[in-house]
Symmetry: C2
Subunit: 91 residues, 2 copies
């Protein structure tokens, strides 16, 4: 029986790639008086649900989804966490 999974995916720029948006936030924070804030890097956080027969299959599929659509592997890294969603007992 297919299980429902909840995935949390983090897509971040590779460390060698410049992040102008992050730098803009950092400069903005400095102007707001937060001078103790160092490097800021901005990425994406994606939550999705998927159904799969096993956690292994769900992981494989998520890797393909990230490579093909959610992340640009040339400039971005990704990582994800998978949780089985608790099914409500029918009692």
């Amino acid at each position: 029986m297919a299980q429902q999974y909840q995935a949390q995916i983090y897509v971040t720029l590779r460390p060698s790639v410049l992040d102008p948006a992050g730098t803009a936030v950092q400069v903005g924070l400095m102007h707001m008086g937060y001078e103790n804030v160092g490097q800021v890097r901005i990425g994406k956080y994606i939550e999705l649900t998927l159904s799969a027969d096993s956690e292994t299959i769900a992981c494989e599929q998520l890797n393909r989804i990230c490579d093909q659509l959610l992340a640009n592997p040339v400039i971005e890294n990704y990582q994800f966490e998978l949780q089985e969603m608790s099914t409500v007992a029918s009692q």
Copy 2:
């Protein structure tokens, strides 16, 4: 002495707010054959470093930073994790 902290901040749309980008990704995945993927929600993932005298102070400051700049509290929720960065011993 001020400690260095690494913060991971997750900014997500409130559940009641529509997420057209997430829906577009979901439809895209369906067209790519991933018909087992359910709801997709897209948020921001921000990493930053800051120095503060204590974890409590760092938390208070991060809350202000999120409220003032990183998140729009009207339509977005945020949560963050703080880790003390290990200082390299000078030996």
